[in-house]
C-alpha cells in the first residue's frame, strides 16, 4: 500500500495527518465548503418532512429494539435466509471474514471478483487479503474505483473520493484507463469508467456487495446505490457474496420504510437512492452467501456508554457537518470509517491505535443533531476521552498537563498566582507562549493578555456590594 492509511498510521496521529492535509489552503477551503454544501442539501430534504423528528425517534427506537433482541433476531434471520436458499456464514473477526470470502471463491475456482461499496470490507482489509492470495479485485463504485486505481483509501463512507479534485481524477484515468490527457470533464470521465467497468460486470463470475439492512422477519437484505453497480454485479454473477456487520439487522420489513426515508435524505439530500434492492432468494442457478461479522461489535454491545454507536446506518451526515472533519479530511482519521462516528467506533477495535480520534472533535454536538438514528455521538466522544485517559492511552505530555491543571483548578491560591504569572509572562516575555512548543500557537496568534483577572476586577469594583 503506497499511499495507504496503514503505512502512515503507525507514525502519525490525527493532528499530524490533518496538518498535512491543510497545507494546501485553497483545497482545504474547497473540501470544507463542498461538504457543507452536502450538509445543506440534507437540511433542505429533512425540512420538507414535517415528520422528520418523529422519523428519527422511531428509527432510534427500532434500532434500540434491534440491539436489545439481537440474539433472537440473528437466529430468526439465519433461519429465514437459509430457508430462502441463502448460505449464512459467521465470522468472529476480520481475518475469519476474509478467509470465508476467499474460501467461497476457491470452492468455485474464481480468481477475479467485483465489489460494490462495503465499509465492512474496508474495516477488514479484504482487498489486501484477497490480492495477497492471488485474487484480482475491482471496486465498481466510481469513487471507490478512483481511489483504488490511486492506491488510496476512501476518505468518506458515502463520497469515497471527496478529497480529490477533477484534475486528479483526470490524471488517474489518463494513466490507467487511457482517457485524453488533461481532460477533467466529470461527464467524460464518468463515461470512461462506465465503459471500463461494464466490461468487468459482464465478465466476472463473483460479485461482493455490502448490506444496508437485513430483515429478521423475512431473511431478505437491502442494498442501496445510486450508480446501480451493486446490481450490475450481483445479477450477472454466478456467485453473490454479501458481507454485513450483525448490527445491520432490523426487526421487520415495514421498518425499511422508516430507514429508507432517512438514509438518502441524511446522506446526500436525495429523497431515496436510485436503487433500493431487496435480495431475498438467489436467482435460479446462482449461489448467494451472507457473511455475518462480529469483529468487536459484540464487545461494543456490552459497553453501555458506547453501544448506541451500533445503531449507525452509515449515511455520513455527521462527517458532512463536522467542522473538524471538513477541515482535516477523511484520511487524517486513519480508520475505515472517518469523522465523528468513526471516532467512537474505532477505539473499540483498537484503543491504543485510535486513542487520538475522540480528541479530534470540538464537541460542538452538530453530529448528534443531524444523526438520523439519534446516536449521542458528541457525548460518546467525551466519554471515550475519559476512558482513554483512565486506561493510559493518552500521550504523557497531555497527561502531565491535565494533572497540573487539576491541581491548579482545585487550589484557589495556586490558581490566583498562576494566572498572575501567566498574564505577566505573556506581556513581558511573549516568546514563552508564542513558540512552536505551544500547540495553541499553531496557525493562530495568542490573544493579548488582560491587565487583570476577573477576581481582581471584582474585588476592586463590586467587593462588599
Amino acid at each position: 500500500m503506497k499511499n495507504g492509511r496503514d503505512a502512515r498510521t503507525t507514525l502519525m496521529n490525527h493532528a499530524e495527518l490533518a496538518e498535512n492535509f491543510i497545507k494546501d489552503g485553497e483545497r482545504t477551503t474547497w473540501h470544507d465548503e463542498t461538504l457543507w454544501f452536502v450538509r445543506k442539501k440534507r437540511d433542505l430534504a429533512a425540512f420538507q418532512l414535517p415528520e422528520w423528528e418523529a422519523l428519527r425517534e422511531a428509527a432510534s427506537q427500532i434500532k434500540h429494539n434491534g440491539l436489545s433482541n439481537m440474539h433472537d433476531y440473528l437466529v430468526a434471520f439465519e433461519e429465514k435466509a437459509t430457508a430462502n436458499g441463502i448460505k449464512i456464514h459467521w465470522a468472529m473477526d476480520a481475518l475469519e471474514h476474509n478467509q470465508i470470502v476467499h474460501s467461497i471463491l476457491k470452492e468455485n475456482s474464481i480468481a477475479e471478483i467485483i465489489k460494490s461499496k462495503s465499509m465492512l470490507t474496508e474495516e477488514c482489509h479484504l482487498n489486501e487479503y484477497l490480492i495477497e492470495h492471488g485474487v484480482d479485485v475491482v471496486d465498481t463504485d466510481l469513487g471507490e474505483r478512483i481511489v483504488q486505481l490511486r492506491e488510496e483509501k476512501p476518505s468518506h463512507i458515502v463520497l469515497p473520493a471527496i478529497h480529490l479534485k477533477k484534475e486528479d481524477v483526470g490524471e488517474t484515468f489518463h494513466k490507467y484507463l487511457g482517457t485524453e490527457k488533461g481532460n477533467k470533464d466529470p461527464q467524460y470521465l464518468t463515461e470512461a469508467a462506465r465503459q471500463h467497468l461494464r466490461e468487468k460486470f459482464v465478465s466476472r463470475k463473483a460479485a461482493l456487495t455490502g448490506v444496508n439492512f437485513a430483515v429478521a422477519e423475512t431473511g431478505e437484505f437491502v442494498v442501496c446505490t445510486n450508480e446501480g453497480n451493486a446490481d450490475m454485479g450481483a445479477h450477472l454473477a454466478d456467485v453473490h457474496i454479501a458481507c454485513m456487520g450483525f448490527e445491520k439487522i432490523i426487526p421487520e420489513r415495514k421498518h425499511l420504510g422508516v430507514f429508507l426515508r432517512l438514509l438518502a435524505r441524511s446522506a446526500t439530500g436525495q429523497p431515496i437512492t436510485t436503487y433500493s434492492s431487496h435480495f431475498k432468494k438467489p436467482r435460479p442457478g446462482q449461489q448467494m452467501h451472507i457473511v455475518i461479522v462480529d469483529n468487536g461489535r459484540s464487545q461494543q454491545l456490552g459497553r453501555e456508554d458506547f453501544r448506541n454507536s451500533l445503531k449507525c446506518i452509515r449515511c455520513g451526515a455527521c462527517m458532512n457537518t463536522c467542522p473538524v472533519y471538513r477541515r482535516s479530511g477523511g484520511h487524517s482519521y486513519h480508520s475505515a470509517v472517518a469523522g465523528p462516528i468513526g471516532s467512537i467506533l474505532a477505539p473499540n477495535l483498537d484503543m491504543r491505535k485510535n486513542a487520538d480520534l475522540p480528541f479530534a472533535s470540538t464537541l460542538c454536538g452538530s453530529c448528534s443533531n443531524v444523526c438520523p438514528v439519534k446516536i449521542d455521538i458528541h457525548e460518546q466522544l467525551y466519554k471515550w476521552r475519559q476512558v482513554l485517559v483512565k486506561e493510559g492511552h493518552v500521550p504523557f505530555g497531555k497527561k502531565v498537563a491535565m494533572q497540573a491543571m487539576t491541581f491548579t483548578l482545585s487550589h484557589p491560591g495556586v490558581f490566583k498566582t498562576a494566572g498572575k504569572v501567566g498574564r505577566s509572562m505573556m506581556g513581558l516575555a511573549p516568546f514563552t507562549v508564542s513558540n512552536g512548543l505551544n500547540p495553541w500557537y499553531k496557525q493562530r496568534e495568542m490573544p493579548a493578555p488582560p491587565k487583570e483577572s476577573f477576581r481582581e476586577w471584582f474585588s476592586k469594583n463590586r467587593n462588599g456590594q
Binding site: 427506537q61 445510486n226 431487496h278
Partner: protein
C-alpha cells in the same frame, strides 16, 4: 466453540434489556396530491414523466425516439409491435446490447418517485440496470403517498428480488458534479397511465 456459537453467546450476554418497538402506523404526514408530487420529485431526480391515456401512446413514443436497429425489450405484451417479448429466460449477459427496456411497475411512491417492481415485472433482475434507457408504465391510481404506505401495500408478499427504482442511474463522485448514467440506465421515463 464455532464462531456462530461464540458470537451469539457474546451477544446474548451483552445485549441491553429489551425495548419495545415504536408504533409507526401514523408517522406519515401527507399534505400533497400524490400525482403532482410524484411528477415533481421524478423531474427533480433526473427522470421524465409523461401522462398517457393508453399504451398506444407508448408505441408512438418508441417509434418517434428510437429506430429499428436498436434493441428494445419489454415485459408488456401490448408493446409487441415495437419491442421484443420473451427474453426473460435468456442468459442475462445477452441483454448487454439493450437500448430501451419498457417495464410495468406494481406501484409508485409519491414522496420519492420510487417505483416498486419484483421479478414478475422485471422479467430478469438485471434488466432495468443493464439497459441504456429505461421506461416504466404505472397506473396513476397505483401511486401511494409515502414509504410507509408502500410497505403496507407490499405487506408479506413473497418475492425472490424486489426493487425500488427512482430515476436514472447517477453519480457525483467526481467533485460532487452530478452525472446521469453511472452504471445503470442513462435515462428514466415514467408513463403515467390514466
Amino acid at each position: 466453540m464455532d464462531s456462530r456459537a461464540y458470537i451469539l453467546e457474546a451477544i446474548a450476554k451483552n445485549q441491553p434489556s429489551s425495548n419495545p418497538l415504536p408504533d409507526i402506523s401514523s408517522i406519515a404526514v401527507v399534505d400533497y396530491d400524490v400525482v403532482e408530487k410524484f411528477k415533481t420529485i421524478l423531474e427533480g431526480i433526473g427522470g421524465q414523466a409523461i401522462e398517457i391515456q393508453n399504451l398506444d401512446e407508448v408505441v408512438s413514443y418508441v417509434k418517434s425516439y428510437f429506430n429499428e436497429g436498436q434493441r428494445i425489450i419489454s415485459t408488456l405484451p401490448e408493446l409487441a409491435s415495437v419491442a421484443e417479448i420473451g427474453w426473460q429466460n435468456q442468459d442475462p449477459h445477452t441483454l448487454e446490447n439493450v437500448e430501451l427496456n419498457i417495464l410495468r411497475a406494481q406501484f409508485g411512491v409519491a414522496e420519492n418517485a420510487a417505483l416498486w417492481l419484483t421479478e414478475a415485472q422485471l422479467g430478469q433482475r438485471v434488466a432495468p440496470f443493464i439497459t441504456q434507457n429505461l421506461a416504466v408504465v404505472i397506473d396513476k391510481n397505483n401511486l401511494v403517498a409515502t414509504m410507509h404506505h408502500a410497505y403496507d401495500r407490499i405487506a408479506n408478499a413473497e418475492y425472490g428480488f424486489g426493487l425500488y427504482l427512482a430515476g436514472p442511474s447517477k453519480t457525483a463522485d467526481i467533485e460532487q458534479s452530478l452525472v446521469l448514467g453511472a452504471h445503470g440506465s442513462r435515462t428514466m421515463t415514467v408513463f403515467l397511465l390514466s
